[in-house]
């Protein structure tokens, strides 16, 4: 009578013999070439940072063709700073009174004020 451990060991030895009958899979040159091709394609593909730099360069070429990248970047940054400074420093009273909540009454809405007894006619 075999113990559980002996039986497991016998099963393992049997499985090893059975699996050793199966031939190893040879690696074809075509498969190697496919995998290496994938690697080359991946290596050649631009990274996210490179794609971002390319997009920035494209935008800069559109707004200021032929200029080095720092020039449009500088102008953009300067206008942003000026805008923010103006927003903070110019007092709000200088921008004019806000009359948006005042109801304007048109003269046509009022009842006609016609005095016939005035005698001017």
């Amino acid at each position: 009578m075999q113990t559980q451990e002996e039986q497991n060991a016998a099963d393992a030895a049997f499985a090893a013999r059975a699996l050793s009958l199966l031939a190893d899979e040879p690696v074809s040159a075509a498969l190697e070439a496919r995998i290496l091709g994938d690697f080359d394609r991946l290596a050649a593909a631009p990274s996210l940072a490179a794609k971002l730099a390319q997009a920035i360069r494209r935008v800069s070429e559109t707004i200021w063709p032929g200029a080095p990248l720092w020039q449009p970047a500088f102008v953009l940054a300067l206008s942003l700073i000026l805008g923010l400074a103006a927003g903070m420093l110019v007092p709000s009273s200088a921008l004019g009174r806000d009359n948006s909540d005042v109801t304007q009454t048109a003269s046509l809405d009022a009842p006609p004020q016609l005095d016939l007894s005035a005698g001017e006619l």
């Binding site: 499985a15 059975a18 699996l19 199966l22 031939a23 899979e25 498969l31 994938d38």
Partner: protein, 157 residues
């Protein structure tokens, strides 16, 4: 790549019983490993463990896409040696083994094949399969027992 590809291919071939699919799996596994190389944490898992885990997951994905395992296809052996009677007998024997292996539930098959081809310890195999060592031992024990029962009629083993 040259170090791992033969074993990865054998593992995938035994899991899927299909040479062409096994090649696709090996190719996809390498592609995935290269694409997601940044996700691999050196201190967390060995590179080989991660590589074989990716390969096995690719096999599971393909097995789930198959409606049913084609046992007839599983019996096909890639490299039958023509000629003497012994070679033909070996081929038939290998076909029987392959059919028995293909009929195992996928987790048991993965455990048996992984431990045979990867030749790794139970701790690493359990890590690759994503189960505890006890669960792996149970899978191995049941898989090997079933394999032996199915092939009990073979005198040459």
């Amino acid at each position: 790549m040259a170090r791992h590809l033969p074993k990865m291919l054998s593992l995938a071939r035994r899991m899927l019983s299909d040479r062409a699919e096994a090649e696709d799996v090996a190719q996809e596994a390498f592609l995935k490993v290269w694409t997601h190389a940044a996700r691999w944490k050196p201190g967390k898992a060995k590179f080989e463990t991660w590589l074989y885990r990716v390969t096995l997951n690719q096999c599971y994905d393909r097995l789930r896409r198959k409606p049913a395992l084609e046992l007839e296809a599983a019996a096909h052996v890639a490299d039958p040696k023509p000629g003497p009677q012994k070679a033909l007998e070996d081929t038939a024997l290998a076909a029987e083994v392959e059919r028995a292996l293909a009929s195992l539930p996928e987790r048991q098959r993965a455990a048996v094949v992984l431990c045979h081809y990867r030749d790794c310890g139970n701790i690493e195999a359990a890590e690759i399969l994503g189960v505890s060592v006890e669960a792996l031992e149970s899978l191995l024990s049941r898989g090997r027992r079933t394999l032996r029962t199915k092939l009990a009629h073979l005198k040459d083993l």
